[in-house]
Amino acid sequence: MKTVDEIKAAIEAAVSGAAVTIVPNPSPAAQPSLLIGHEHAAAVAEFLRDAPEMAFDYLSNVSGVDWPDKEIAEKVKVTRQVVKTMDGVEQTVDETVEETRKRVEPGYLESVYHMYSVALQHGPLVLRMRTANRTDGTEMPSLTPVWRGAEFQEREIFDLYGIVFTGHPDLRRILMWDGFKDFPMRKDYVEPDDFEYEPTPHDDVLKRAQTHRAVVDAREQTGGGQ
């Protein structure tokens, strides 16, 4: 199989305007992936499927990833002017101070596609797409029109992560029921508080059971019933 750099070059040559970024993989697998933009996703996917030297005719797996907002603390050296009294005379002196600055890197949702070529016996190629954010911009083009095998897996990602795949022929929840409002695989998902009976609690479950107990006790004290 060609290297990801070659594939990236081939995509950019074939689909004009397509922006492809190589996402390195620092783990022992060292399998880099290609991050593609929304606009040309369908064209890129069709190219990968139909180009004779690519022929990625088999979509093996689609998965979702939730990247929550990340708070990054950085130490920055800041030079500022300080008024100091030296030898009885007020002087303005430059002073270098180390300051910790926090910035929030906005999170996003990601879908990861693994493709193989049955015809050319190569693969996998890993494609990624990212949403704008985790709240109101969770759309992403569907690749089901290109690989039919993505249909149920994209539905599952929609169900558990809340990524809305535009162009998907039948985007409904697949595992949870239709009236369900949450996205259980997101990092900030809050489970229903049904920890009333935990006979052998430990670690996180113990904490949840104690929290539940405290909530129930507080409710009983205020006389809220039940």
């Binding site: 595992l175 949870m176 009236g179 049904d194 009333e196 009976y197 949840r208």
Partner: protein
């Protein structure tokens, strides 16, 4: 008992069969408990094995697995009850005619098992319907299911037809239908049926 047991045996030797309506009635009930044919997870495989020749549940009068709840007496909750499946399980139970019994088979059916703290699994079917026999195990072996079945038969045998502890189907006041939980926005609503299940007291 109106007839002394020794006298009964003695009469039996002489070819005279003495019984009571209660005994006859319970014998009939316990000897033809027909399970409903449905499985939820891997426990169902053990349940199927129990009915096959090696373990042969037919010895206990339970060989006929009925494909319709209308014809079944026993519901074997064989496996994980997901929150999506729970309303259907309760609905099927409601459709069964009295007298009806429930065996909760395996860790998942009795408590949620290894999936207890998951968002999608019900923490025990006894939150919605009354369970007669619980079997621990993951999955329980066929012997355990047979043991549960014999326990259920003993329970049926010990019931008296009148009085306070008479079986539910002879008590006009007792409920035979149980509210079906509604799939809500975050969880099943209600999360348990307080008429059937209350939070057990943990003794440490």
């Amino acid at each position: 008992m109106a007839v002394d047991n020794e006298l009964k045996i003695e009469l039996g030797k002489q070819g005279i069969f003495v019984t009571t309506i209660e005994e006859l009635y319970n014998w009939g009930r316990r000897s033809s408990v027909w399970p409903m044919q449905f499985g939820l997870a891997c426990c169902a495989i053990e349940m199927i094995a129990t009915t096959m020749a090696r373990y042969d549940l037919a010895r206990f009068g339970a060989e006929v697995f009925r494909p319709s709840p209308r014809q079944a007496d026993l519901m074997i909750i064989s496996g994980t009850v997901t929150k999506k499946m729970a309303p259907q399980v309760v609905r099927l139970y409601n459709q069964m005619a009295e007298p009806k019994y429930v065996i909760a088979m395996g860790a998942c059916a009795i408590s949620g098992g290894p999936f207890k703290q998951g968002y999608n699994v019900l923490k025990g079917i006894d939150r919605y319907i009354p369970v007669d026999v619980h079997i621990p195990g993951c999955p329980p072996r066929p012997e355990a299911l047979i043991q549960a079945f014999m326990t259920l038969q003993k329970k049926i045998d010990g019931q008296s037809l009148t009085g306070e502890d008479r079986p539910r189907h002879l008590d006009a006041e007792a409920p035979c239908e149980f509210p079906v939980p509604e799939p809500g926005e975050h969880d099943l609503e209600p999360s348990s049926n307080p008429g059937v299940w209350t939070v057990p007291v943990v003794i440490r």
